[in-house]
């Protein structure tokens, strides 16, 4: 394995899986992963309307009798099944760069379990609003996200009512700015755009009526004219007409705003290149987004072509990347795989459970807590027991190639057991990097 291949596998991917064949041309292998639709197949998993039906039925059953449902409850089953399928896909995928992009955009548009009762729909959200758009237009992804019940529930949009709308007048209800604010601050233009509170409020008015309906045969997102604030709204100097179309227009405006492109470029470069993104690399990706009208496939391809993307690895793997990379490295068969969901929680990154809407952090300092890293070592020790038949040195060389340091190799060779040797590999600084 040469260094470029190792970087393609580790920086852009999820680490080599066992002794899988190596790509002949690493850059071409990455580019190919951006072609065509998402290769992941989740045909057996429920779509959002089915998931919302399960949620509705569970709520109704619990309303009738709080003890009528056994454990785990149907929504928990949905969540676990979806989580297991998407984690298994990450471990087994032949297109790990594509998968990394999915998780990157999932984190950019964080929907967390922590509020909004989203457990039933986070999985469908990723499959429906994120995966189809990872190599498409950012505006399309933004629209799909903002119209998805998961986001409408997570950031309280479903209950936001225009104060002067019919519903607002009748029920004395009003705005909830949460989604509007986070959309501007985190998903699109960022405070660098210089917007004011009045812009946030106006955008919140634009989005009134974007809600969900559970009581129909195919529950999902609805636009409620009765809850929509009448009149034209001005957001960041642009006027948007009333009605559902006004919200779509506002999102298109925000999606293509210059600071949005800069925000996305900086986040992509930080994720794939370095904690402190090199300014020229950011400018390059920003330019691609601007010139391609927000084509995320083109921006991803441009990442591969950055000279900085082939420099020595400095990023620290997040717990999620770390666990998946380790299981791939050990090539554990299904029945020996650890409970990834539980492990991620133990290592400090419980799946789809970010504390706040800004998602999980993306700098080494955020993941390099002493106890967190020791827990990785503890977990490495545990999981190493499951790979008792593997040759640790051969596995290390197959996984890291030229990135394996002589010191790590020597420590592994002097280890008292295969398990200890494997623990040292998985706890080595080079395995922690991506």
């Amino acid at each position: 394995m040469d260094t470029r291949t190792a970087h393609a596998l580790i920086r852009f991917g999820l680490g080599r899986r066992g002794a899988d064949p190596l790509p002949g041309d690493p850059a071409a292998w990455l580019h190919r992963q951006l072609q065509g639709p998402d290769p992941a197949n989740f045909a057996d998993l429920p779509a959002t309307p089915q998931a919302l039906s399960v949620l509705r039925e569970q709520r109704e059953a619990e309303k009738r009798d709080p003890n009528s449902l056994g454990r785990p409850r149907p929504v928990q089953v949905l969540f676990r099944t979806d989580a297991a399928a998407q984690l298994a896909n990450a471990i087994d995928t032949p297109a790990p760069f594509r998968e990394r992009l999915v998780w990157f955009w999932t984190n950019h548009f964080t929907v967390s379990l922590r509020q909004g009762g989203t457990a039933a729909v986070i999985g469908p959200f990723i499959r429906e609003a994120i995966r189809p758009h990872v190599t498409g237009r950012f505006a399309d992804m933004l629209l799909a996200v903002m119209r998805h019940p998961a986001m409408l529930m997570y950031l309280d949009q479903a209950g936001s009512v225009g104060p002067d709308s019919l519903a607002g007048q009748r029920q004395h209800r009003g705005l909830n700015e949460n989604l509007a604010r986070e959309c501007m601050e985190l998903h699109t233009v960022t405070p660098a755009a210089g917007y004011t509170q009045a812009d946030v409020t106006a955008f919140a008015r634009v989005l009134t009526g974007w809600s969900i309906e559970l009581r129909t045969e195919t529950p999902g997102m609805v636009f409620r004219p009765n809850a929509h604030e009448p009149g034209t709204q001005t957001v960041m100097g642009h006027e948007f007409p009333p009605g559902e179309a006004g919200g779509v227009a506002a999102l298109m405006f925000l999606a293509s705003y210059p600071t949005t492109h800069r925000n996305l470029a900086a986040k992509l470069v930080r994720h794939f290149v370095a904690d402190d993104p090199p300014p020229d690399a950011v400018r390059r990706i920003e330019g691609v987004l601007r010139d391609s009208d927000g084509d995320l496939g083109a921006a991803s391809a441009a990442l591969i072509d950055l000279a900085q993307a082939w420099q020595p690895l400095t990023k620290l793997r997040s717990p999620q990347d770390y666990v998946i990379a380790a299981i791939r490295a050990l090539a554990l068969p299904d029945e020996l795989r650890p409970d990834v969901l539980g492990v991620m929680g133990m290592l400090g990154q419980p799946l789809w459970n970010a504390p706040l809407p800004n998602g999980w952090p993306d700098r080494a300092a955020d993941w390099a807590g002493p106890e967190e890293l020791l827990r990785r070592a503890d977990w490495a020790f545990g999981v190493s027991a499951r790979a008792a038949d593997a040759d640790p040195v051969a596995l290390a060389e197959a996984n890291l190639g030229p990135l394996l340091r002589p010191a790590t190799l020597a420590a592994m060779q002097h280890a008292g057991s295969r398990r200890d040797a494997m623990t040292l590999l998985l706890s080595s600084p080079e395995f922690m990097r991506r």
């Binding site: 454990r71 676990r80 298994a88 492990v343 503890d378 706890s427």
Partner: protein
């Protein structure tokens, strides 16, 4: 299907926590013969009962151990009041919420029937339920006197030891399962030392791992000392949470035992107790969370092998003593009060002029729980605790 107990339960846990392709192993445990849950937590190392539940209303207390008394109730980081005479150690703040909910019943000045001050003997006796070591533990005998469930025993049995080892408490003729998280084992100190050295020069992982080991109480010297056992210090809350989830399952076990160490506070007690007390408190709340609705039909007995000296020793710690605290807690428990026949701390009242005088036999507490919570009749109680006629079941432990 014949699985080893541990493997079976590992599979079970994996299936619960994930389901689907990543955890397709599964196991159905047979119906248990009761819907009541009973959990025993062993505090190994002898908890100072008067540090955990401080009899601050006793005028003698400050004469013996002023330096070990936390701040008064109502002060910052002070005790949490338990009715005007006793105060809960601030490290047990989580338990105070249970007290307020009427679900925590501290039982003070309690001791087993033995008078050993050896940890290892006393733990054997505590778990045997006698004043000598038996070949089975009293909780195992509880399992054998419970009626068998409709579908018979599951491979794991209706009881479960949570942790790496099977404690004597649960050993015996009745089949009992044991469960430990897949990652329960931790590297030996020497392996920690080697992986620390591997990371030493790294600007990110090097300092973090060094600090992590320091925080975990490893100094450079003890890295090569194999007696340090970090799992004892780190695992309890997650074990308790897992135990709760397993006990809550409709087809899961009904009886479980856990343990947590760190109580042998011979030096610097005030500081050293904070961590294990917080772990205990956090873990018991995690147990409750794991149990969910089943908490309502749960009783937990937290017990330790003996108490510690009333006087502070020369290193601001306490030495092995006699009378101590036990905790009874759970949704089924008639708590919100302290149960004690308080012996007083006047010198004449101390046991052998050094220890808290025990006024209640721990077996009476256990028997009271078994009778009122699990419905064991007197002959069954006599099998569980042989020769315990003198310790008649304590009354009023369980809500009517």
């Amino acid at each position: 299907m014949r699985l080893t107990r541990r493997a079976a339960l590992l599979g079970l846990t994996a299936a619960w926590s994930l389901g689907g392709p990543l955890g397709r192993a599964s196991l159905a445990l047979a119906a248990a013969p009761t819907d009541k849950r009973f959990v025993v937590v062993i505090l190994r190392g002898a908890l100072d009962g008067m540090a955990a539940v401080v009899p601050y209303g006793d005028p003698g207390l400050a004469t013996w151990r002023a330096e070990l008394i936390p701040g008064a109730p109502g002060t910052e980081d002070g005790m949490l009041d338990l009715g005007g005479f006793y105060g809960l150690h601030p490290g047990l703040a989580g338990l105070h919420t249970l007290y307020a909910a009427g679900e925590l019943l501290p039982v003070h000045a309690v001791a087993g029937s033995y008078r050993s001050r050896s940890h290892f003997e006393a733990q054997d006796y505590l778990e045997s339920g006698a004043d000598h070591r038996m070949t089975s533990g009293w909780l195992n005998r509880v399992v054998s006197v419970l009626p068998v469930g409709e579908a018979g025993h599951s491979p794991g049995g209706p009881a479960l030891a949570v942790g790496m080892a099977m404690p004597l408490l649960l050993r015996g003729p009745a089949t009992v399962g044991s469960w430990a998280p897949q990652n329960f084992g931790t590297p030996a100190p020497d392996l920690y030392a080697r992986l620390a050295s591997l990371n030493e020069a790294d600007p990110i992982t090097g300092p973090a791992i060094r600090e992590g080991l320091r925080e975990r109480g490893f100094s450079t010297e003890v890295l090569s000392n194999t007696t340090v056992d970090p799992k004892q210090r780190y695992a309890f809350p997650s074990l308790a949470a897992a135990a709760g989830r397993m006990l809550a399952a409709a087809d899961g076990p009904r009886i479980a035992a856990l343990e947590i160490g760190g109580w042998d506070t011979h030096a610097g007690q005030a500081k050293r107790l904070n961590f294990p007390l917080q772990q205990l408190s956090t873990g018991l709340l995690a147990l409750r969370v794991g149990l969910g609705d089943a908490w309502r039909s749960t009783a937990v007995l937290v017990m330790t092998e003996f108490g510690r000296t009333v006087r502070v020793n020369g290193t601001n710690g306490t030495d092995h003593g006699t009378g101590t605290i036990a905790f009874v807690l759970g949704g089924a428990v008639a708590g919100g009060r302290v149960m004690a026949n308080w012996p007083g701390l006047a010198q004449a009242n101390l046991f052998e002029d050094r220890d808290l005088q025990p006024t209640l036999d721990l077996r009476a507490v256990a028997k009271g729980l078994l009778a009122q919570h699990l419905g064991l009749p007197p002959p069954a109680l006599a099998r569980v605790f042989p020769d315990s006629d003198a310790a008649s079941p304590a009354r009023g432990l369980i809500r009517a």
